[in-house]
């Protein structure tokens, strides 16, 4: 008796160790793969943002003209013969080139950029600066982050939870008036949020001026915290409504279709035949197997929050990451562009990693060993 018990215990312990080892191996493999992914993605960004090195040529021209201008404008050098003046300019250019390491070939420097980006040393911006005057990319990005998180967080969380909940309700009342009207309204999502934004601005800021046409807070910003918050809220109404309008019907529609398909699976039919309550069927037989796609889209949506949307922020003049990126691209401020993409890349890699682990936990049918070749 007792030996049998010990044996069982030993085998379960052995199985646990084996599972853990397998999980550890899998985790390590995934981490390495994701690291390489981020590496390649960031390197591609560096290549694109530097125009494959052409930005350096532009910078060289700029350095030369600035040095020439400086020497020419300085009264101390007025008396120098032109030859000496030229050599002075050359020396200035040489110093600046060495400081920026422009004398090295671009390929070498691009790997240097890559290294710095990967260790999250985002460097200093070339043209832009934060509102407090700081020049490093980190503080520029951090300054814009709350605005983006606030706006897109509010809107996307609202859309996600409302649509999944509404879809569950509608999939239970298939063919009802509410269901039909959602189907009828779904095509309205063909237009993106900024498009509705333009109309909202037209109606509520110009034809009937009740809401501000853009910006995040009134100018000058109110003194008290409460007034400040209220002002931000007022400025948030239109962009949030624009995003909600443009996405809600299509989300409800897709989730509803998704749930409907899963609610006609054989095992759901069987549960129904067994006489389980609709609520129980919904929770155990429909929601559980559909959880992994739901979680996927939820996490991907969360990731989307960090990047903001260039165009919506432009239309509403919202001082977030999207408009930051747009300005950075306009200024050809490569460190800022690369910095935002690096942070985005790390966040995305983290999410993908979490998703891989979650799939295994949520849906036993998807075996974690699959990635390694089952």
């Amino acid at each position: 008796m007792s030996t049998l018990g010990q044996n069982v215990e030993a085998t379960t312990k052995g199985a646990l160790v084996r599972d853990l080892r397998r999980l550890g191996g899998f985790t390590a493999r995934r981490l390495i793969a994701l690291f390489l992914t981020v590496l390649v993605g960031v390197y591609l960004t560096i290549l694109i943002a530097n125009m494959g090195g052409r930005v350096d040529d532009l910078r060289l021209v700029q350095i030369r003209s600035e040095a020439a201008e400086m020497v020419r404008a300085d009264p101390a050098f007025f008396d120098l013969p032109s030859q000496e003046r030229n050599s002075l300019i050359e020396r200035q250019v040489q110093l600046e080139v060495e400081r920026l390491r422009l004398d090295q070939p671009f390929i070498l420097r691009s790997f240097n950029y890559l290294y710095q980006a990967m260790i999250l040393d985002l460097g200093r911006a070339e043209q832009m600066h934060s509102d407090s005057g700081a020049r490093d990319v980190y503080s520029i990005i951090v300054e814009r982050l709350p605005a983006t998180l606030l706006l897109f967080g509010t809107a996307n969380l609202l859309i996600f939870f409302v649509s999944v909940f509404a879809a569950l309700v509608l999939s239970r009342r298939y063919g009802s008036v509410a269901d039909r009207s959602v189907i009828a309204l779904a095509p309205s999502s063909a237009a993106p949020a900024w498009f509705y934004g333009i109309f909202l601005i037209l109606f509520f800021a110009f034809l009937a001026p009740v809401l501000p046409p853009g910006g995040m807070v009134q100018a000058p910003p109110p003194e008290s915290r409460l007034d400040y918050g209220l002002s931000v809220l007022r400025h948030m109404i239109m962009p949030v409504v624009a995003m909600f309008l443009s996405q809600i019907f299509i989300s409800i529609y897709s989730w509803r279709t998704f749930f409907l398909i899963h609610s006609s699976e054989d095992y759901v039919e069987m549960a129904r035949a067994k006489g389980l309550s609709p609520r129980m069927i919904e929770r155990r037989y429909i929601l559980r197997p559909t959880l992994s796609p739901i979680i996927t889209s939820f996490l991907l949506m969360l990731i989307g929050l960090w990047s903001g949307s260039i165009i919506l922020e432009q239309v509403f003049n919202w001082p977030g990451l999207g408009s930051l990126l747009f300005q950075a691209i306009g200024h050809r401020d490569t460190p800022v562009i690369i910095g935002s993409v690096v942070i985005f890349a790390y966040l995305l890699a983290l999410t993908v990693f979490l998703l891989d682990l979650l799939y295994g936990v949520l849906d036993p049918r998807v075996r974690i060993a699959q990635g390694g070749g089952a």
Binding site: T37, G41, A190, L202
Partner: protein, 443 residues
């Protein structure tokens, strides 16, 4: 294939599908008409602006705006010297010509601007012209005189001395009732601009037009560069349709097939596809497009190429994979394998059809998505620099603060066309979803 034909017949039962098809048919017809009526090169030339448009008012609302509101707004009136009867008087060494330009002004609103274009051909010595404005009630207002170059433009509206004398900008001051107070009223009737020209050469001629620019113009109105917006609205149609269609077809099909191939074969194939997708996901589409647009070129075809290239391994693969993974383990796939179905057959006939129902709404809304993507780029100022598109019009409107200046038409007409395109494809697609999707019909 008969299934598809039956499905198409069944589509007629859905009013939204019919409406969607009508909209798409209308847009396609409009594109065909546009491409034939205004050839590509001519459209580009016209859209560059300049002298083509000098007889058009700037920032004029469409004519229908006038019909909706109280009405009586001025339309553009052009009086040509060629249509008038000149009186000549010869003197030694030249002649004096009297040209009465007659304007019947019956609008209740004032014109937006007044210009006189003059061409003097074959002169050794520049002719001299004196201008007098004669109102219906017989007042004569001297507009001064000047020498006329070969091509000359007399901006009557910008004559500051005249403005000071009349107390209003000239195009209001010249047409108002004499004592109508601070709110000037139009004095309707027959006006005359009398040109008295002294010409010093026998063969020489004077030609030209007097333009009273309207407040409203044509079907679509005009922009700040006097360009007729109708041109951009018309040409925007084929550009939008082509861009949306090519991009949507190019991306979805490849994405879905690649996702299914990865899930089915698993192992190395899946790993490679997943890695490529993940790298691609790290590169966000719109910022990349903005980057390419700012740093390289904003040609619409380059943008299209990048959209398709980046779209192949898009984030959609992850979603499809999440849906396909449980299906891979399904019993009916096992059955197919047992009877010896090939890999291609399993992927194309068993796995892809299974998730198509969920994908059709996404696929169909993809066409308008790309139409709007092109518009988004244009609104950001990264539209194709030479091609007139709807987004370009929106961008111009935004740059000129059209909403702030109450030029709503400038935003509304391209927006309506964009919306129409979006709705047309989406309505048809959603109806197709219900017809071609047996699983949906049975539940």
């Amino acid at each position: 294939m008969t299934g598809w034909r039956k499905g198409l017949l069944e589509l007629r039962k859905y009013p939204s599908a019919v409406a969607g098809m009508l909209i798409i048919a209308f847009l396609v017809a409009l594109s065909v008409y546009t491409v034939i009526a205004i050839p590509y090169t001519q459209a580009l030339d016209l859209w560059r602006g300049g002298d083509h448009w000098r007889l058009h008012p700037s920032n004029a609302a469409p004519a229908w705006v006038d019909t909706i509101t109280r009405g009586g707004q001025a339309r553009t009136t052009v009086v040509s010297i060629a249509d008038t009867s000149m009186e000549q008087e010869l003197f030694e060494g030249g002649r004096q010509v009297r040209i009465p330009l007659e304007i019947d002004y019956g609008y209740r609103g004032f014109p937006s601007e007044m210009n006189l274009f003059l061409r003097a051909r074959g002169h050794d010595r520049e002719p001299f012209v004196r201008m007098t404005w004669v109102t219906p009630d017989g007042r004569e207002i001297a507009l001064g005189g000047r020498r006329i170059a070969r091509e000359d433009r007399v901006s009557i509206s910008q004559n500051l001395t005249l403005e000071r004398r009349l107390g209003h900008v000239p195009h209001i001051g010249l047409l108002k009732q004499p004592d109508s107070g601070p709110e000037p009223q139009v004095l309707q009737g027959r006006y005359q601009l009398v040109l008295e020209a002294v010409i010093f050469d026998d063969e020489a001629t004077i030609d030209g037009d007097l333009v009273l620019y309207g407040q409203v113009h044509g079907i679509a109105g005009t922009d700040h560069q006097r360009r007729d917006l109708l041109l951009a609205l018309l040409w925007g149609t084929p550009v939008a349709l082509a861009f949306g269609l090519i991009a949507a077809v190019g991306t979805t099909i490849t994405t879905l097939v690649i996702a299914a191939v990865g899930v089915w074969f698993g192992g190395l194939v899946d790993a490679v596809i997943q890695r490529l997708t993940e790298i691609n996901m790290i590169l966000p589409l719109l910022p990349i497009l903005v980057m390419v647009g700012t740093l390289y070129s904003t040609s619409i075809w380059l943008m299209l190429g990048i959209v398709v290239a980046l779209g192949i391994f898009s984030a959609g693969i992850k979603m499809y994979r999440a849906m396909l993974l449980p299906i891979r383990e399904a019993a009916y796939i096992e059955a197919a394998r047992a009877y010896g179905a090939s890999d291609t057959r399993i992927i194309l006939r068993y796995m892809i059809p299974r998730i198509l129902p969920v994908l059709i709404p996404t696929f169909v809304t993809l066409i308008p998505t790309f139409v709007f993507l092109e518009a988004s780029l244009a609104v950001l100022g990264l539209g194709d620099p030479v091609l007139p598109t709807w987004g370009k019009v929106l961008n111009d409107a935004q740059a000129q603060s059209a909403l702030y200046n109450e030029q709503y038409y400038w935003v509304i007409s391209p927006a309506i066309l964009l919306m129409l395109t979006g709705l047309g494809f989406a309505m048809l697609g959603f109806a197709m979803d219900r017809v071609f999707n047996p699983r949906l019909r049975s539940v």
